[in-house]
């Protein structure tokens, strides 16, 4: 019983432990397969090379922009729609809209038609192409809608009596207490944009606009070499390719691991609401 759980915890954590260890070790130890749990011959060479590579710097910058703008837009669009749809009795056609959205969870036009739409919009190779096609996730919308469903009607009613219109109620009464759902869904969107590969890969052409995941793939999977200048600037110690690749991976995963404790608090509840009610 506990052996099984212990084993599971181990195989979930060990890959990261190993990667961190190797990325911080010196080449001799790596070549001799001496690194298992902790760095041997600790040095930051790999990380120095990774950070000096201009591609990675640009990609990081791009990703941060995409995530910042994208999360804002996604939260705004999703939040507004979720709030409106939660007013089931008052909103005309609520049922109709709900079905329309549900249907998109099961059917889609496919990769090529979607690409053609993006192309016809003239936004290929722009930030919009990365952000807009997946601006709203039906799943997240349902979770937010369920959350707004629970909001006490009396508070909203008293707001309307005081003269607030729907936007007023939303802005002054509902949103201030919706911190939990806004953070959770916001983080869901942020992580999703941070991790996205396919959309940028399909819709972007300039290397200078590529986000982290696309560059990561270039480096680790396609093996494109690190800037030779960057490598030699750190001295002429031989750096093992694997150590570099692990360092690149760690660098792109660290932000996710960093926000993880924060998401963790809220999302279990969010997922449950979404699945039970949705």
């Amino acid at each position: 019983m506990f052996i099984v759980l212990g084993f599971i915890v181990f195989i979930m954590l060990y890959p990261f432990v190993y990667m961190i260890a190797v990325s911080l070790s010196d080449s001799i130890s790596i070549l001799q397969n001496k690194v298992t749990f902790y760095p041997k011959g600790f040095n930051l060479t790999s990380y120095k090379i990774v950070f000096r590579d201009p591609r990675i710097f640009t990609a990081y910058k791009n990703t941060i922009i995409y995530v910042a703008v994208g999360t804002l837009i996604s939260l705004a669009f999703t939040g507004l729609a979720a709030y409106a749809l939660s007013k089931k009795d008052r909103l005309i056609g609520a049922k109709f809209f709900n079905i329309l959205i549900l249907v998109t969870m099961f059917f889609s036009g496919g990769m090529i038609p979607k690409y053609l739409v993006v192309k016809d919009l003239g936004i290929l190779n722009t930030t919009w192409a990365v952000i807009l096609p997946s601006a709203i996730s039906a799943w997240n919308l349902i979770i937010m809608r369920s959350f707004f469903d629970e909001f006490p009607k009396d508070i909203e009613d008293s707001g309307r009596i005081d003269g607030l219109n729907d936007y007023g109620v939303l802005w002054y009464l509902v949103l201030p207490t919706s911190g939990a759902v806004l953070s959770t869904i916001g983080l869901f969107y942020a992580v999703s944009i941070w991790n996205s590969f396919m959309e940028p890969f399909l819709y972007l052409q300039d290397k200078a606009r590529f986000p982290l995941q696309v560059i990561l793939r270039d480096i680790v999977l396609l093996g494109s070499n690190f800037d030779n200048q960057a490598a030699s600037a750190v001295g002429d110690s031989v750096v093992i390719e694997d150590s570099l690749k692990f360092a690149t991976i760690i660098v792109s995963v660290v932000p996710i691991i960093a926000v993880y404790p924060y998401i963790q608090k809220y999302f279990v509840k969010g997922v449950m609401i979404g699945s039970i009610k949705g």
């Binding site: 759980l5 999703t78 729609a81 090529i112």
Partner: protein, 320 residues
């Protein structure tokens, strides 16, 4: 015209007028709410429904410079062409086998994990294990495949090093077609185990403990308790999640397969969607690619409807 039921004249107004007035009032009431919906409506219309309409190019000979309307209709030409290519069968087989393996091994895993975790009484430990188990879910596909590539590397990948120290030969996992499905499915389980278990764990806490107490009084073993109490109580959750899964069955995680494959292992690793990608995005055969993609979606829908019907017959849970 207001319908006022308190006056004799108002009460005489026809039900239809009453309904129309009510609707008009509702529309008026919803004005602002509807404006809130506008971004979402636009989004779904442009990025989900317009492509659905665009799927029609599967039945045309679409040429980008001609545009949609000027491109001629060709009926089922692309479908016929696809099925006459030598690789059509291989693609369908690979897609199906990958999806099937993924479900057969991947679907029960979180359930079993949830069942085991549920037995842990120490809530502190339970929480820690859970927290650690969700983490892989947030790792991107690129990182997962990169990790797979590096750990399974024949030169000095961690796994191969282990094999050698145990006296086995090195295996070039990523270059042998026979290993592809295993690597794919195992990594899927690794990534999805914790996250998938969340819902089951939540459902498990909803089972009345008195049922277990009664069973223990009757002398039921742990296994018997699981079979006769836990699983039946979980059945609705399991069914619903299974149906949702079937809804995406043939869209075998394209991104991951794409990142994992190389022409060397196309024999097992080339699936319908990756072929669609090459045909459409690289070779520019838009209509042909869309047709095959449509074929993929149709199979998907078929599986979804079939499983929903079966679920409805077997127990009361179904999506519709």
């Amino acid at each position: 015209m207001k319908s006022d039921l308190s006056t004799p004249l108002g009460a005489l107004q026809s039900p239809l007028k009453v309904k129309a007035n009510a609707m008009w009032k509702k529309l008026n009431d919803s004005k602002l709410l509807l404006t809130m919906l506008i971004p979402a409506i636009l989004y779904f219309a442009i990025f989900h429904y317009k492509p659905m309409y665009g799927v029609l190019i599967a039945f045309k000979d679409f040429k980008a410079f001609k545009g949609f309307d000027a491109s001629p209709w060709v009926g089922l030409k692309h479908f016929r062409m696809f099925f006459s290519t030598p690789n059509a069968w291989r693609l369908v087989r690979n897609t199906f086998l990958l999806a099937a393996n993924n479900i057969i091994w991947g679907f029960p895993a979180p359930i079993i994990f949830a069942l085991i975790l549920n037995e842990v009484k120490n809530t502190h430990a339970k929480k820690w294990v859970q927290t650690i188990s969700y983490m892989p879910h947030f790792i991107s596909t690129v990182v997962i495949v990169a990790m797979i590539d590096l750990f399974l590397s024949p030169r000095n990948g961690m796994i191969n090093n282990m094999l050698v120290s145990l006296g086995f030969e090195r295996i070039h996992f990523m270059a042998e077609a026979g290993w592809f499905r295993t690597v794919y499915v195992v990594s899927e389980i690794w990534q999805g185990l914790g996250w998938g278990a969340i819902i089951y764990l939540a459902a498990l806490t909803n089972i009345d403990p008195q049922l277990y107490e009664a069973a223990m009084v009757d002398g039921a073993t742990k296994i018997k308790q699981i079979i006769y109490i836990t699983l039946p109580c979980l059945a609705p959750t399991i069914t619903t999640l299974f149906l949702l899964r079937m809804g995406r069955v043939m869209s075998v995680g394209f991104e991951k397969v794409f990142l994992m494959q190389t022409p060397v292992i196309y024999e097992t690793a080339d699936v319908i969607q990756t072929f669609v990608y090459r045909q459409g995005m690289i070779q520019g055969n838009m209509s042909f690619a869309t047709a095959i993609g449509l074929f993929n979606s149709v199979i998907n829908i078929f599986f979804l409807i079939a499983s929903n019907a079966i679920a409805r017959k077997l127990n009361e849970t179904s999506l519709w």
